[in-house]
């Protein structure tokens, strides 16, 4: 029982991070119709900038804020310098561009920072909490709470504000949105900036648990993508469910089946979902018109 609970907690913690990455994917996919493979690099930037700013003597909250700002700037630059000029390119060309951006950012991080692994101190100490025989790291609670806060904020923005409505309108029909006065370019830039912020927050929260280095982004992007896919592309609720589910699958898979193939689970999930239900768990079936 305590073992089960332990797997449940670690699965939810990792899953929360996947959920945030998946949310970032979804936001950009929703607004700009781009699958942004550089999403994982925002997570890396969040962790790395915080680590280096903190090491330079900046207080942790300020270092974290700085990391989010850096990631947002990078996200906006990515949109303005790489995505906007490629308007009208095919889906695959855009994917290749964002993969290029991800390689470029990783290369830049390797030059600006270094190739070592780095750790942040846990936000509120390392004294574990004991619950029904399971051990909870306080940082896990930070991750879960932070992720919940991000999800709620995003929900509020999307449902209750004019900006959110503009995003929804752009996603539904870009031309129609433009006709009713939505500045589609700004909306897309906002989506990139927002997804960068979400990614960076995920990176900051998880670094005390999993460490970070210049190349953590790729695998996270792929897993976040698997999560987004599991939940149905472009569906924010699906992204959260998909992320948590993937985290749990990994945690239970590693615990009960094979820990060496833990990382493979995400890809098996991708393939299985695509083969069985390409529209995801919560997605809608779409019909292509000729």
């Amino acid at each position: 029982m305590s073992e089960l609970l332990q797997f449940l907690i670690s699965g939810l913690t990792v899953g929360a991070v996947y959920a945030l990455v998946a949310l970032g994917f979804t936001l950009v996919y929703h607004a700009a119709d781009v699958v942004n493979f550089a999403q994982g690099e925002f997570v890396m930037l969040g962790g790395m900038v915080t680590v280096f700013a903190y090491a330079a003597g900046v207080p942790l909250p300020l270092a974290a804020l700085l990391a989010v700002i850096v990631a947002v700037v990078v996200g906006l630059l990515l949109y303005w310098l790489a995505i906007a000029p490629a308007r009208g390119a095919s889906a695959v060309s855009l994917i290749i561009i964002t993969i290029g951006a991800s390689i470029l950012l990783r290369g830049a991080a390797q030059i600006v920072f270094d190739k070592q692994f780095h750790k942040l101190p846990a936000f509120s100490g390392d004294t574990p909490i004991h619950l029904l025989g399971a051990v909870i790291q306080p940082q896990s609670l930070w991750v879960l709470g932070g992720a919940a806060l991000v999800v709620l904020t995003l929900y509020y923005v999307m449902e209750r504000t004019l900006i959110g409505k503009a995003v929804v309108a752009t996603a539904a029909n870009r031309l129609a949105a433009r006709l009713v006065g939505v500045n589609v370019t700004t909306v897309m830039a906002l989506a990139f900036g927002g997804s960068a912020a979400i990614g960076a927050i995920a990176g900051i929260l998880i670094t005390p648990i999993t460490l970070t280095s210049y190349d953590v982004g790729t695998l996270l992007a792929l897993k976040g993508f698997a999560a987004a896919m599991l939940g149905g592309m472009g569906n924010p609720l699906g992204a959260v469910i998909g992320g948590l589910l993937l985290g749990l699958l990994e945690s239970f898979g590693a615990g009960y089946v094979s820990s060496t193939y833990k990382d493979a689970i995400a890809f098996i999930v991708i393939l299985a979902v695509l083969f069985v239900a390409p529209q995801g768990l919560v997605g809608r079936r779409t019909v292509e018109r000729v």
Partner: protein, 314 residues
Amino acid sequence: MLNLLGRRSAILIALAVVMAVLPLLFPSSYYFRVAALVWVSALAAIGLNILMGKAGQVSLGHAGFFGIGAYAVAIGPAHFGLHALLAVLVGALLSAMLAFLVGRPILRLKGHYLAIATLGLGVLVAMVITTESGWTGGPDGMPVPKLSLFGWRVSGSTTWYWITAGLLLIGTWFALNLDDTPTGRAFRALHDSEIAARTAGVHVERFKLQAFVIAAVYASIAGSALAMMNGFVNPDQAGFLHSVELVTMVVLGGLGSIVGSIVGAAVLVVLPQLLTVFQDYEHFLLGLIIIVSMIFMRDGMVPMLAKLTMRARR
């Protein structure tokens, strides 16, 4: 001369002439090695181009097949005592079988989804290679025995230059000929419009699968050649980054242009060699090249140059 011989023979002869003349300009065996790397990469890129450029289906996991070919010539002789050439065949056969088995469900998908599914497949192959260290040596890789033919031990950059050049010529010849076969026409039809192709009686699923299998075999043989040339394999050759490099070669050179794939491979292999001074900047520059070329040369280098010369001639 061009009209007399036809475009296809002209390309093949030009390629053969370049291959024959280049060694005269090479001051050291290092150059032979780099050129051989270009030929091997070009072979894999041409195969991928048949899938991407001709049949219009993307694969972001193609290095997986490259890795299967590479590890076949390492594992075959070491664990099963196979002759190296037989191991190449086994690798190609395994790649073809894997492509055939997963191709049908994967190729039903389109756009983003196809890209992700192929990516997942490639990453899974790389993961198996990295994890099954009893067979593959794990992340450190494993040595590949020297190829020996009738008592002749094949080694040295110069020898491998000629072998890979020969392989590339055969690969190019096959790819060029494919254009004018019913299969090549079916590929083009489903590239332009899958629905129109289906209406015209093209068995869409079968031809997509064929293109996938052909591309897998090309990559596998290229992988075997590289592994035997290096005398060593490691999981990076099956990795995601290598898949991206292969796709970049195809797109940079020009989708659908066979010559383009060779040019794209040459650029992507030679450039890092020129930039070894900036070794730390390698990834940064690779990313930059990918982004810039996708934005400014959407058709790829060779089709763009062809368009320019056409315009100049008029």
